[in-house]
Every structure is written in structure tokens, then in C-alpha cells.
Amino acid sequence: MSLVLQHYSCSITTMTRIRSQQDAQLVRAVLPLLILTLIRERESYGYELVERLEALGVSVSTGLVYPVLNRLERDHLITARMGASNNGPPRKYFTLTTAGEDARTAAIHQWQGVSLAVQNASNSEGASDAE
């Protein structure tokens, strides 16, 4: 009995680990699009973006966001300027460029394509289950 329980608990742990890895990969894949969209709404600094993502229900760390910001800035999709803050040292505020706007539009189309494919696959799966 205890052996069965132990095996069951081990399976749950493995499933949880796989699930969290999948979640992390999904967040990483969609992070550039989310960041471009948030910056398009209004210019923001790094930690502010983390807070805004949290408010949207996407749990990320600065360790995930900063490398993405660095890559977007390197590819000229966003630009940065140092701006004064009321309660601390100057902050690096990011703004979307024209190239960033185009990249965002392309990413949205990509995302919609993937989303549609998942939806179609789920629908056909549901239909075959019903037969």
C-alpha cells in the first residue's frame, strides 16, 4: 500500500515539475510580445514592467524580464532613456520604436495563428471523443 502511495506521490511530483517547466516555457515564449504591448501602452522601467505583468496574472522575475528588454533594445525594437524618479535614483524608461510596433504586430499574428491551431486541435479532439 505504502509502495503504491509512494509511486503515486512520485508521479504527481513529476507531473507538477513537467507542468511548471511547460508554464515557464510558455511565459518565456510570450514575454517579448507582452513586454512590447505594455511598453506600447505607456513607457515603463524594468521593475515596473514586472509589476504590470504581475497585475495581468503573469508571474515573472526581473531575471526573466531584463534579458528580454536587453534583446529588444539591441534589436532596436525599443529605445531607452534615463528619467528622474520621485523616490529614488534615475530610472531607465523604455519606449516602443516603429520597428517594435511592426514586430509586435507580427508577433500578434503569430500568436493568433498558434492559438487558432490549438483551438482547432482541441475541437477535433472533442469531436472524435464524442463519436
Partner: protein
């Protein structure tokens, strides 16, 4: 995962905080050497420094949120870019040399203690190809070793191996053997 504790805003970074940032960024820089080009690496460090300066949280929280330096560096990694980390190699070589010296001096110190306990007397031994001696008599005590080839070659070999392993030098051969497009 981000830290969920309430954010306590910090107006100005203290000297200790700046030292913590410098130490953290130095470690990130060591790891970045192996995964990005030099210009990208400098830009990443500059950008991180600016972000950390503007982060309103306590520096401990901000650094914890960034994660371990090697993991953060891996997130800056460029596709397929893997080169030797010579900075880490040099540090590894330095540590290996220090460990060699500590072990060597402990060995000779142990010999001296043994000889001193049965004084007057003299003992000869070999430590990694180096002839070592210790003596203790009415005139004094002392240790000594010969200055043959092993005296230079043994530490040099240890340092070289530590440098090559620490720097992950095989990456150079691997990147050279990869086809260029």
C-alpha cells in the same frame, strides 16, 4: 519566481549595496564571457547596472529576484554561442595553486612536527616528485626542499590543468569544428 514580499522603497544605494551590485555583476560577467560576444556582454552588464540602480526594492531582494549569476547569464545567451570562460579559468587556476601550496606546507609542517617529537633527527620524503626534508636538533629546526625541475613543473602542470578545466577550454575546439554558414 518573483519575491512577493511588500516592496520597501529605497531612496539611495549605500556603499555596501553598491559593493553587492559590483560583486554580483562581476560574477554575471564571468559567466557571460562564455555565452555572448564581448560587445554584447558589456552592453548587458551596463544595462543590468542601470536597472539595478533604478530598482526601488532593497538590493538583497532585487538580486534574489535576478537569480544565480550563471542562470541569469544563460538567459542572455545567444543561440549556439559557447566560448571558453577564461576569467573563471584564471580564478580556478589561482585557487588550485593556493590549495597546492596549503597542502604542500601542511605536509612539510607535519613532517617537522614528527621529527621535532623525536629530536634530534632528520627526515626525508617526496611530495609530488619534490624531495622534502625536515630537521630538528640542538642548533635549530627547519624544513627544506630541492629546487629541481619538479619544483617548477608540478605547480605549472596543476595550474595549467585547472586553467583549462575552469575555462571550459574544450568549447574552443568544439566551436572551431562546427561548420560555418
Amino acid at each position: 519566481m518573483p519575491n512577493k514580499s511588500p516592496v520597501e522603497y529605497v531612496a539611495r544605494r549605500s556603499v555596501t549595496d553598491r559593493l553587492r551590485i559590483d560583486t554580483y555583476l562581476m560574477r554575471v560577467d564571468w559567466h557571460l564571457e562564455g555565452v555572448t560576444r564581448s560587445a554584447e556582454r558589456k552592453a548587458a552588464i551596463r544595462s543590468l547596472r542601470e536597472e539595478l540602480a533604478g530598482d526601488p526594492r532593497h538590493i538583497r531582494t532585487a538580486l534574489r529576484d535576478l537569480g544565480p549569476p550563471n542562470a541569469l547569464a544563460a538567459r542572455y545567451a545567444e543561440e549556439g554561442q559557447r566560448s571558453p570562460t577564461w576569467s573563471i579559468g584564471i580564478i580556478t587556476a589561482g585557487v588550485a595553486l593556493l590549495v597546492y601550496w596549503i597542502v604542500f606546507l601542511s605536509y612539510t609542517g607535519g613532517m617537522l612536527a614528527a621529527v621535532d617529537s623525536i629530536a634530534p633527527g632528520e627526515a626525508h620524503s617526496t611530495f609530488l616528485f619534490i624531495d622534502v626534508m625536515a630537521f630538528s636538533n640542538a642548533e635549530g629546526i627547519g624544513i627544506g626542499w630541492t629546487s629541481g625541475w619538479a619544483w617548477l613543473v608540478v605547480p605549472a602542470v596543476i595550474v595549467t590543468i585547472a586553467l583549462l578545466l575552469g575555462a571550459r577550454s574544450w568549447r574552443r575546439a568544439r566551436s572551431a569544428s562546427q561548420p560555418q554558414y
